[in-house]
Amino acid sequence: MRTSLNNIKEVDDHLLNQSAPQDALLFEVKLIIDPELKYTVMWHKQTLSIVNQYGRNNLRAMIENVHQQLFTQPEHQTFRQKILRLFYKR
């Protein structure tokens, strides 16, 4: 891999706690001597948080899609009636 990708891997491993012990130590040293690296780590963290948000949004969309299927398709009519009875028989 090219150097910039290896640098990304290094930050990623650090954040996911996957660095080998000697690499972890080396990274701590780099953080002290390279003031820019702290910011790189910050951007990386934000990136992972946005990726997770994206993944969660997709999961939610999938769940909503399942809900729509169960509440509209004819083959799930029994299930649907079972649920609706719980709310409209009161």
Binding site: V66, I83, F87
Partner: protein, 177 residues
Amino acid sequence: MVCNNAPAETEKLIIKLYKSAFPLVAKYVSKMGGGLDDAKDIFQDALVIYYEKAVAGNLELQKVDDKAYLLGIAKHLWLKKFRDDKNNLPLTDDLDLEYEPEIAISANKVLHYLETAGKKCMEILSAFYYHKLPMKDIAELFGYAGERSVTVQKYKCLEKVRETVKQNALAYEDFAE
């Protein structure tokens, strides 16, 4: 819960969980005086929480009963909803993901941008970081020759998305000043 699967399998799993556990949650919510929409919201939040715990391998009991577990989370969410006396659940409080509140404003904007401009990268990255699929499966799912090539692609995507996040945040800072 069997997880870390491709999307098609995950959907099957959600259907299965919906059919087995939603009636229990709906019954509970109905008994507590809630409506169908409340039951739906709470159940969907419970599914997200359960899913995220399961993919991260954070479920204490390996052979945990899906139905009982989901009902447990749902009851907790229902009581919390009452306590907070709000319609919107602060879902993130219950999850282990780290979110930085200060980036929330620009995060939505950048997320929206990435959903269109960098969709493939976001799909690959979320398959790895959120859904925690094995690299072998990700390679297969996205048509890469093997783990090595998809791993390189993953770092390329991280580089690209990280640069977008950075540029966007900096632009927002300029705007805010």
